[in-house]
Symmetry: C2
Subunit: 342 residues, 2 copies
């Protein structure tokens, strides 16, 4: 597992020593290649390849497919743990985990030979969804999904799918995701992008440690006090900074995906009216939020959940954005029941 | 009012347009000068001057003095609003507001001619208290105080006074302060110091904007969403960064005071046992905490309050560390009643 990703979002998981059992065998990394991926900005990514992995078997009427878009900097490999019988069952469903644009596997600032690093165009959550729609329909020949399941930035993509292709998925699971980011979340990603820029400028440990420190500030204070003593705090920041080196190339992947989240807004095409966007959706929603989440704050998803009559699970495990990993059974059961109900 | 200080801690106040009425006329800035101030590190500040302002008249038996130490980067001038009849009444009390070491008025990295900027030694909250004890006893000839009133870092100094000079003050008010900082708070100040170092390196707007962004992350997300639209978030960070220029010299003031907070621990001389430190105190405590405070998190003060049987006021105004400014009447009444009760 990519340690940087792990640190950014899920360091709590590392420290609590969780293990996910019964993961299905890894599927091979596959790619769909396109001459170009048009972007809503009017620019294009060219050439453009989209990474994905599949688990299980597509049934004869093509009605059992699930799509899993990836979280911030996450790869399809890192999402494999979701293909567990307790969460998403590959014995029953055909699971497609798709690498979001800019994640370092699909075409990204760090791997494009034609649009290198800072020359890689800004991308949108919408662009990720459009590339996935082409993959699912054009490459895999699937015209509807049983469900879409996304965590964090994956949940943002799932929300975007729901307004962009309302008839495509019967069920949509958004965990710790957002229909559009409020000021707090935008401030967080904007600040992080500033720190990436500072890091590119100095390539110094201060910048990595500052990023590690900002990561810790998304913790629930009382929980952090249990995990880290006051005497060990400074050394913990140092070691987290040290264990999370970022190449300049990868820093651009992070920046472009963060920009996509900052600009994310499923009400963009509905006069910025979230109620109208909600009215456009047809899928059934399961919306899982974490009470003290300070990476993707829960209010926008909670408000949207009311508007679409979603099934809502509010987690409160004192792990903030890490709640689905701090209470993996609660998360797994909620997702599994929702995906498998008649 | 110093805009930098204002932004760091109390930007909410600016945006809600609060005004504090009936402030007493400014007292003149005064200084006590010493050949040197010895520090607990073994180093000295030499020469050493301590700034202060007084309001009201010391009574004949010298029993009506109140001491107010300053918050992070705050000056005695900025604390003058506390000398309002509704909070601390200069008609009744002799109020001494003292500039904490390193605040840019008392001897500081930014104004020392012998220990310039980064060559200024690290200081401790204890050192601030020791310099204040010399001022009060040696210069003003006062051997006991009716009370000590501190907000934020001022509250940390008030806590330190209570264990270091248990018989000195009859009453101690700590608002949004801490007996020692837990991991979350240490992470915040450590990160901020990293960002100051980055700023000294680049002297660029990215660093100021990153600091402004980190400042916003201490907000209560739902409250921030009311104050700043998602469309205005990035420009708000830019403008806050722009309106908060820091000279290199002042950046060292901030760093040294932040280090003092990081190292602050009133149980240091009690085998790190807060219960033993609490048992040493004799003063009556009023402890005011803010529910969602992410600058000085409330848990350590709440725990200490139980150990000393303090009067506790828990504010929950959705302004976090800014709660005493968001509900100034609640704050004023709590302080005034406690200071003036028989």
């Amino acid at each position: 597992m990519n340690r940087q990703t792990a640190f950014l979002f899920f360091s709590i998981v590392f420290f609590s020593g969780l293990t996910i059992a019964k993961t299905a065998p890894d599927s091979l990394q596959q790619f769909a290649t396109f001459d170009e991926c048009p972007l809503i900005s009017g620019q294009v990514i060219a050439p453009c390849k989209i990474g994905y992995r599949t688990y299980g078997t597509l049934n004869s009427d093509k009605s059992n497919a699930l799509l899993v878009p990836t979280w911030f900097t996450g790869t399809s490999a890192e999402h494999t743990y979701l293909t567990s019988p307790e969460i998403l069952n590959p014995e029953k469903h055909f699971i497609i985990i798709v690498d979001a644009l800019g994640n370092g596997v699909s075409t990204s600032p760090s791997n494009s030979k034609s649009q290198v690093q800072g020359n890689f165009p800004q991308i949108a959550i919408t662009d990720m969804v459009e590339s996935q729609h082409r993959l699912v329909t054009g490459v895999l020949g699937i015209e509807s999904l049983h469900g879409i399941v996304g965590l964090s930035m994956g949940g943002m993509q799932a929300f975007e799918w729901a307004v962009r292709y309302p008839d495509f998925a019967n069920r949509t699971v958004v965990a710790i995701g957002s229909p559009r980011l409020p000021a707090f979340d935008i401030a967080r990603w904007t600040t992080r992008n500033h720190m990436l820029a500072l890091y590119r400028g100095c390539q110094c440990k201060e910048a990595l440690e500052a990023m590690a420190g900002v990561g810790m500030l998304a913790s629930v204070p009382a929980k952090l006090a249990q995990d880290v003593t006051r005497e060990d705090t400074v050394s913990t920041i140092k070691s987290r900074g040290k264990s999370s080196p970022i190449s300049i190339a990868k820093s651009w992947d992070q920046q472009r995906q963060a920009e996509a989240m900052i600009g994310h807004n499923i009400a963009r095409d509905f006069g910025n009216d979230l109620t109208k966007a909600a009215a456009e959706t047809k899928t059934q929603f399961l919306i899982i939020v974490a009470e003290d989440d300070r990476v993707v704050t829960p209010q926008p998803a909670q408000e949207f959940a009311i508007q679409v009559g979603a099934t809502v699970v509010e987690m409160d495990e004192d792990c903030g954005h890490g709640d689905p990993w701090c209470a993996p059974d609660t998360f797994a059961k909620a997702v599994s029941v929702f995906i498998n109900k008649d």
